[in-house]
């Protein structure tokens, strides 16, 4: 991957060439590799090296954005000129105030920012172990193992200068029999920390245990949502209603309810881009340092995340370091969600369930109604019936249609162990949840 000094030199070259009242250059670097397997063999295996340069030019209150992935001085200058040319052709955005000014950016420990390189053989060796374990169990493994270096640099004409790098490692596997499937995933920064054998054991066990599933009538059930399902649900909630833009546009479930109880009192939800147990990143795509934001505390709506644009519109607000790259139509988003842990073990969640459904993960979730936080999706890769405190049968997958705030208002128990679930430029750290009532609205054929 291109190094820090070369990146900052290129960013400053682009910045210097931008004839505008204010200018910002964001550079994203990636040197990424992914080995993909299915049906017990490697079928795709790819690598990519890319640098994206994103120039935002501000002329008065007019903004233009141009992007390139050509690092030559000529291309950098051309892109900067294009951004300022677009800004001059633009109309004014009366709501825009300013790009952010410089603030001290916290530094992350070296073990987090180090960029490790891994060879195709190192990935293949681990995938071979997954495949061997699947074959031994008489099932078929699919999945991917990715390794890569990521870099992010932000400079602007007001003095912001920030750079950070990291290694990312991601592993997922779906293990299948003719009638069932099981799942496991892992995210981190060090390939050596990935216990691929343990992850495979989880997926194989789920696959074997969910063979010959039976159908169950849709309806309201107690539900145990394992961490991947909880992370999916919370990232949907974050997209729908935990950003300042959603609140300013009146489309957040929190509108009119700040300081009020919106979910169960055992729910504590926050965003923390600096917590090393997640996937930390010290600053956002405007170079603003990440700040911890309490979103829901004791079930009460406390706050949302801000970028400089939304914060500048309201007195007393400042960016919390949650900007996306310009031009950003989504507004700021929480990308490092944490849900407070409870005290229940995985066994407790099952043991306390009279008649319910254990969900390994969701598939293809999609919001139906933003302000009501209703979303739908399917269960996948291990759905089980729990009766009188124990798993009694595998179930065919179910469709749910449920309001997220209602589900979080019905949480009965919270798991004591939390897992990191990878997401877009971050990840969620969440426990499993047991929800007293969850609305399943359909069933499929497998």
């Amino acid at each position: 991957m291109v190094g820090r000094e070369e990146v900052l030199r290129a960013a400053k070259t682009a910045l210097a060439a931008c004839r505008a009242d204010q200018a910002e250059v964001v550079m994203m670097l990636q040197d990424s590799y992914l080995t993909r397997f299915a049906e017990n063999h490697i079928h795709q295996n790819v690598g990519e090296r890319n640098v994206t340069v994103n120039v935002r030019a501000v002329v008065g209150k007019k903004i233009g954005v141009a992007l390139t992935n050509d690092l030559s001085d000529e291309a950098l200058r051309r892109t900067s000129e294009r951004a300022s040319e677009i800004a001059r052709l633009q109309r004014e955005d009366p709501r825009f105030v300013s790009l952010p000014g410089p603030e001290p950016v916290p530094s992350l420990p070296a073990e987090i920012t180090a960029v490790h390189e891994y060879s195709p053989e190192e990935r293949a060796e681990r995938v071979a172990r997954v495949i061997a374990a699947a074959k031994k169990a008489g099932v078929r493994a699919a999945g991917s193992l990715s390794t890569g270096g990521l870099g992010l640099a932000v400079v602007n004409s007001l003095g912001v200068e920030a750079y950070s790098s990291a290694t990312t490692v991601g592993f997922t596997t779906v293990v299948m029999s003719d009638t069932s499937s099981g799942y496991a995933d892992w995210a981190g920064r060090d390939l050596q920390a990935l216990d691929v054998d343990a992850q495979t054991r989880v997926a194989v066990r789920k696959c074997v245990d969910s063979r010959a599933p039976k159908s169950i009538e849709p309806g309201e059930y107690e539900v145990i949502l394992e961490a991947p399902a909880v992370a999916d649900m919370l990232s949907t909630l974050g997209f729908l209603g935990l950003s300042a833009l959603a609140v300013q546009e009146g489309r957040s479930f929190m509108n009119g309810h700040f300081g009020e109880k919106v979910v169960g009192e055992t729910i504590d939800l926050w965003d923390d881009g600096l917590d090393p147990t997640g996937i930390p990143i010290p600053f956002d795509f405007e170079g603003v340092p990440k700040r911890r934001v309490e979103l829901i505390t004791g079930g009460v709506a406390k706050g949302v995340v801000w970028d400089s644009y939304t914060a500048n519109l309201e007195a007393g607000k400042r960016s919390t370091g949650h900007a996306l790259p310009a031009p950003n139509v989504y507004g700021p988003l929480p990308m490092n969600l944490f849900l407070g842990a409870g005290t229940a073990s995985a066994e407790d969640l099952v043991a306390s369930t009279k008649r319910g459904i254990l969900v390994t993960r969701f598939h293809y979730t999609n919001p139906i109604h933003p302000t009501k936080t209703i979303f739908t999706g399917m269960t996948r890769d291990g759905t089980f019936l729990v009766e009188n405190g124990r798993v009694t049968a595998a179930l065919k997958n179910l469709r749910f249609t449920e309001a997220i705030t209602r589900a979080l208002g019905n949480v009965d128990l919270i798991g004591r162990e939390r897992r990191l679930q990878a997401g877009f430029f971050g990840g969620s750290v969440v426990p499993a949840l047991k929800v007293k009532s969850f609305n399943f609205t359909g069933v499929t054929e497998f």
Binding site: H43, G47, R82, L89, E121, V127, A142, V329, Y364
Partner: protein, 481 residues
Amino acid sequence: MPDLHETVLEAIRRRGAEYGDVRFTERKDETVRVKNGSVEAVTAMESAGFGVRVLCDGAWGFCASSEVSAEEVVRVAEEAVAIARASARERHEAVQLAPVKPTVDTYRTPVRQDPFEVKLEDRIALLLEAERRMHAGGPIRVGEAEVSVRQERKRFYSTEGSAIDQVITQAGGGMSATAIGNGEMQRRGYPNAHRGHFASRGWEFIEDMDLIGQAERVGREAVELLSAKQCPSGRSDIILDGRQLALQIHESCGHPVELDRALGTEASLAGTSFLTPDKLGKFQYGSAAVNIVADATIEGGLGTFGYDDEGVPAQRTMVIDHGRFVNYLTSRETAPALGRAANGTMRADGWSRQPLIRMTNINLLPGDWDVDELIRDTKDGLYLEINRSWSIDDKRLNFQFGTEVGWEIKDGALGAMVKNPTYTGITPEFWNSCDAVTDRRSWNLWGTPNCGKGEPGQVARVGHGAAPARFRNVRVGVGRW
């Protein structure tokens, strides 16, 4: 961009690969978005690079880079070979490619007006006026409008001797009005939801949309939805408009006929397919009214091109013939599993991704019903229009869609507007309940610019031709409202 294809192909051969290809791709995008009377974003984006795909010891390797230099193309070719050799360690049977005739050719999207030649000021003015007029329809909280244009030049070279130079030009956009009140939030879009409507055409496509002429109605309907009655729950006959049907085709036909999914190679992310190879030629996917074709040759389609990204010519392939499942979308690698030729559906998202089987234009062929006649023929039902939400299981059986709006049909006439409509079903049951497809007069080729697939993620642009069609006894009004 320098022409280094000989250097790449030579490096591939020198390293002992059985097969290799390289795509040099230059993509430029320009997007203008307005929101509530202001220009939210004007963006110009350029991305260029190359991707090298090699087959070595019977297994694939792919590597890509944005740096196009003589040294880098050799490094990337060598890396691709090293990756392929690592793949070979855990390969299945050696990959055998279906034959394709080496081709030297060019292709260019026919356009009347180059969309990049239209002044940015004019694009901004069009959108601001359309967005302004949506507010004339009533108290809109958020009005948005967008136009986006793309041009991609792809030069493909293979060790088999193909050299194909293509320039694909596309344009698209739309607008939406969001109204909020009484605890409700409702949105109307035009010409379609989810960024609008896209095609492989020039600026004439944007002008034909008549955004300004439709804006006030769009705003008015968003506000009307706030006080519309809730969509009833139960079972109902439904007529889906072409836009909702386009997404229904996409999710419940387009994806399950991708042969890579059916063979299991997308299992870990998007899933597999209920249309397993044993069903090919035998399975009654839908009623006799259902005829679906994969057509990469139709003029203007968002999934229209000259050659796919492994050099196979664009084709028109019947997929569902009078309800019977008769073909998959295939690649050079997968087609031999069926004993068939590749039908030209391998596409990559830019230079940095390996081609995958992707939908082209998956079109429901028109039937013979007049749309007004179809409504008159429906005693009690719902007319549902434009997608709002979508979800389907990982074998593409159990689906649930929400639409922006619905209208009751009572005794053969459209009646009251209903809000938050949803419907759900099982794919083959649903398509077998289709008893009427309307004719060519109401048929349109819709463009979907956001089809996700693969790891690392890829976004494809695909088309879906559809005309309103009727489905009997469908479950509607799902969930608690």
